[in-house]
């Protein structure tokens, strides 16, 4: 590969970039230098300013100060069309697709193939099919409505869209957050393909092992400033990067777990019998004991989230769910909560948060009736409520430590802590955690792991879903491996390693896991 670190011809240079938001100085003099044909990684804690920086590059924000040089000459990148004109394409962190439009239309949105305003649809469809083929996802059909795609496929479409611009610089803001191991490998293949053609890739991720695998050089941001520029990825130890990011030494390790068989005598918190939702999952049976953390491992689309949601009553499914000896009637989250369950859902922003509301109100949302007096009147004792929220946010070390701030202004990791905090206000018997660390930085992760373990030690049962196999293996006591909606293996975490899990998880050789993501829903349609 034509990559030489000595090649000093910088394609893109940013100098002294400042960006001020009302009340926040998101960027405070950031420098960045990117070379042609390299994968330049941008690292930093949640809220460090990574997304803001790349939004300046993509023309979505205008910087307050500083300059951007492309090929040595200063350029103006706003509005987004200008950045595109300069050959800069972006895959945003928040999926930026239009659900109501087809795959093709999303990919060519803003730069449609058209004659006198009329779309040349066949031609665009062909181009789309080629792009998707190149990304290894020929099975996504160009005319499919994007809203019906799984998150992983949406991510692929976003990528295809960036490629459609034939850009010189492609920015990827946490592209792997919605992808599983296999998909990430696929993504890396595409990235290598791009860099070999001289395209520069700016890559953002909180998964440090990915940086090691794909990255050439690393720039680290902290609190809106550059703390390290152009470190060579292969040569810098992870611990050093983490120290640069967080300003302290975080052990990227999991809390110790109680020994094998520690839970044997303890009561069953949850028992699931033959849980079935046709077309999604079938015959799921397992149990969780008090103090136990059970992990669900599987590929994206294997049905883990749906199993969790069915247990919680958010989806109706056949079978039986028993919580603490009592059968849970399906179909009502209200009942599930009353019986002692709690769910930290997969998509924080859409499924858990009231973005405009203060942190405090987000924390107390599920336990409001605790602060009423008298209860039947529903009269809120707001002082007690606030005190409780404050206590929890301190206990969870939510930063900034002001429960009155709208939760929108917090970084992802801190938002996630508030979501967990919601279930700590009241005694829970079972916590269902779906991708609890998605988009959360290393430092915050370690804290979350410790918190979950502590909750378990206090006697709560935990069901954990994560697409990061090491996380499941590191945190859970016992692991259930899910494939195509069925439990295919169950073992204590100590008895498994990453390779073994990946083998179990894979669908029979030759078949792409991605193709499964789309099919069950189609089948479901024809069954009914």
């Amino acid at each position: 590969m034509p990559r030489s670190p000595s090649d000093s011809s910088s394609l893109l240079v940013m100098r002294g970039i400042v960006k001020q938001f009302p009340g926040v100085r998101a960027l405070d003099g950031v420098n960045l230098e990117v070379r042609a044909g390299e994968v330049h990684c941008l690292l930093g804690q949640n809220g460090a300013g990574k997304s803001t920086l790349i939004k300046i590059l993509s023309g979505a924000h205008e910087p307050d100060e500083g300059e951007v040089l492309l090929d040595g000459s200063p350029v103006r990148l706003a509005p987004p069309t200008a950045a595109m004109g300069h050959g800069i394409a972006t895959i945003y962190q928040e999926l930026d697709l239009v659900d109501g439009l087809s795959v093709t239309e999303n990919i060519f949105l803003g730069h449609e193939m058209a004659t006198f305003g009329f779309s040349r649809r066949a031609e665009a469809d062909r181009a789309t099919a080629e792009l998707l083929e190149r990304l290894g996802h020929g099975e996504i059909r160009p005319r499919t409505e994007v809203g019906s795609l799984s998150p992983a496929h949406k991510q692929i479409v976003s990528m295809a869209r960036a490629l459609s611009h034939s850009a010189r610089v492609i920015i990827m803001d946490e592209p792997s957050a919605a992808l599983d191991h296999d998909e990430v490998g696929n993504l890396f293949r595409v990235i290598r393909d791009l860099t070999s053609q001289g395209v520069a890739v700016i890559y953002i991720s909180h998964r440090l092992e990915e940086i090691r695998e794909i990255g050439d050089r690393v720039t680290v941001l902290k609190d809106g400033r550059t703390v390290a520029v152009g470190l060579v990825a292969k040569d810098t130890p992870t611990s050093k990067i983490v120290a640069l990011m967080t300003g302290r030494n975080v052990e990227y390790v999991f809390p110790p777990r109680p020994g094998r068989g520690a839970h044997d005598g303890r009561p069953e918190v949850l028992r699931v019998e033959n849980l079935t939702l046709p077309g999604r999952f079938a015959d799921v049976s397992f149990s969780i004991r008090a103090g136990e953390i059970v992990g669900l491992a599987g590929l994206v689309g294997s049905g883990r989230s749906e199993i969790i949601e069915a247990i919680y009553g958010a989806r109706r499914a056949g079978g039986r769910v028993v919580l603490d000896g009592r059968t849970v009637r399906p179909g009502s989250t209200t009942r599930a909560v009353r019986m002692g369950m709690g769910l930290a859902p997969e998509e924080r922003k859409t499924q858990a948060l009231l973005l405009d509301h203060p942190v405090a109100q987000n924390i107390t949302l599920a336990s409001l009736s605790r602060y009423t007096r008298p209860r039947w009147l529903g009269w809120l004792d707001r002082r007690t409520e606030f005190a409780e929220a404050e206590r929890l946010s301190q206990a969870l070390d939510i930063r900034p430590p002001d429960p009155r701030r709208p939760i929108r202004t917090l970084s992802g990791g801190n938002q996630q802590k508030a979501v967990l905090g919601r279930w700590l206000a009241e005694d829970r018997k079972l916590l269902l955690l779906d991708e609890p660390t998605r988009g959360v930085d290393v430092g915050a992760r370690a804290e979350l792991y410790a918190l979950v373990r502590k909750l378990a030690d206090d006697g709560i049962g935990v069901l954990l879903v994560s697409s990061e196999v090491p996380e499941v293996l590191g945190l859970a006591d016992r692991v259930l491996v899910i494939r195509e909606g069925r439990i295919v293996h169950e073992a204590p975490a100590e008895d498994l390693d990453e390779h073994r899990v990946l083998d179990l998880v894979m669908v029979s050789a030759g078949q792409r896991p991605g193709s499964d993501v789309a099919h069950p829903s189609t089948e479901g349609a024809s069954h009914d």
């Binding site: 989250t333 009231l354 973005l355 599920a366 009269w379 701030r405 709208p406 919601r422």
Partner: protein
């Protein structure tokens, strides 16, 4: 994720961040704009009609005019914050007023009439709620159907005639004619409803849940809130307000009629939105809605005092709405 913000789908805002920020302050600042607009209108009143505008009897008249629709606006605020909309309010008020003034009902005396109006309003509101929460109909269509059918039923019950409140039941009329401390009783009813609405919205779990249900129904559901039941209750509450408003309009006009409350739905929705509540739900205040409503009422009063003709009055009203909103925007900007 961009909020699908129906209210302002075009703003080139980023993720609706920005001024939406601080909670308490936002409230205050929003109201500041409305108060400024009201003050401006008052100044216009004082300048153009110095001898009429600021008289206590005129102010009482403004409040009395605002009472009926004001009660409805309180219910509408709940519904809109909860992510819905209620087009049936005017029709439900008419229906309740007709039902309560049929000869049959009137024969039981004023208390039964009041109970009847309130029950009819609440019942029809419940039906709205059932269609929306359990029949999963779009609120706009469900309440539109209710609006149409409600007026039809009212016409049918009243035989398309205006029904007088009979002499025996003049207790109801006394709500409008009896004054305490210079204010007709119906203004007190209005004030009580506003106070009650404010307390429920700001001080009870029901109110808190209303914001959650409107702001992010999925999150509310996953937090264990029974979103459907809550939605049902919101429409019932709006219906209840229509029932109370029916009593007030009976008191004020001494009649029940299928023509009462024509286009109240538009006025109430406009007041709520001018008051800073998002049409997409999850935000808003009772105080804002009431200020919005008062702006409309004062505008009307100024027109009456100045004897503008219909045409000019409409033109001016349109212009004032635009001006008030832009003024409010301005005061928001300078404060963030």
């Amino acid at each position: 994720m961009t909020e699908v913000d129906q209210a302002a789908p075009t703003g080139p805002r980023l993720k609706a961040a920005g001024p939406g920020g601080r909670f308490g302050r936002l409230g205050e600042v929003r109201h500041l704009g409305l108060v400024a607009a009201l003050t401006l209108l008052a100044i216009v009143g004082l300048v153009t009609r110095p001898e009429n505008f600021a008289t206590s009897s005129n102010l009482v008249s403004i409040l009395a005019l605002a009472s009926t629709i004001g009660v409805i606006t309180v219910g509408m605020t709940f519904v809109i914050i909860g992510g819905g909309i209620d087009l049936s309010v005017g029709a439900l008020m008419a229906l309740a007023s007709v039902w309560a003034t049929t000869l049959a009902t009137q024969s039981y005396g004023p208390v039964v009439m009041i109970v009847c109006a309130v029950l009819v309003g609440t019942g029809a509101g419940l039906l709205n709620g059932i269609l929306i929460a359990y029949g999963r109909m779009v609120p706009f269509i469900a309440t539109l159907a209710m609006m149409v059918a409600g007026r039809g039923l009212a016409q049918r019950m009243s035989n398309q005639r205006t029904q007088l409140v009979q002499q025996d039941n003049s207790l109801i009329v006394s709500l409008s004619t009896t004054r305490v401390l210079g204010l007709p009783l119906l203004v007190y009813v209005f004030a009580l409803v506003v106070l009650f609405g404010w307390l429920v919205l700001n001080r009870t779990t029901f109110g808190r849940r209303t914001y959650a249900v409107g702001g992010n129904p999925e999150a509310a559901r996953l937090a264990g809130i029974d979103v459907r039941k809550h939605t049902l209750l919101l429409y019932a509450l709006s219906g209840l307000c229509c029932g109370i408003a029916a009593v007030l309009i009976m008191a004020r006009t001494t009649t029940g009629s299928s023509t009462h409350g024509d286009l109240y739905e538009l006025d109430a929705i406009a007041a709520v939105i001018i008051g800073g509540t998002l049409l997409s739900g999850g935000r808003g205040t009772i105080i804002g809605s009431i200020l919005g409503l008062l702006i409309f009422t004062v505008i009307t009063n100024l027109f009456i005092l100045n004897g503008l003709n219909t045409a000019d009055q409409l033109i001016a009203k349109g212009a004032i709405i635009v001006a008030a909103v832009l003024l409010q925007r301005r005061s928001l900007k300078t404060h963030t």
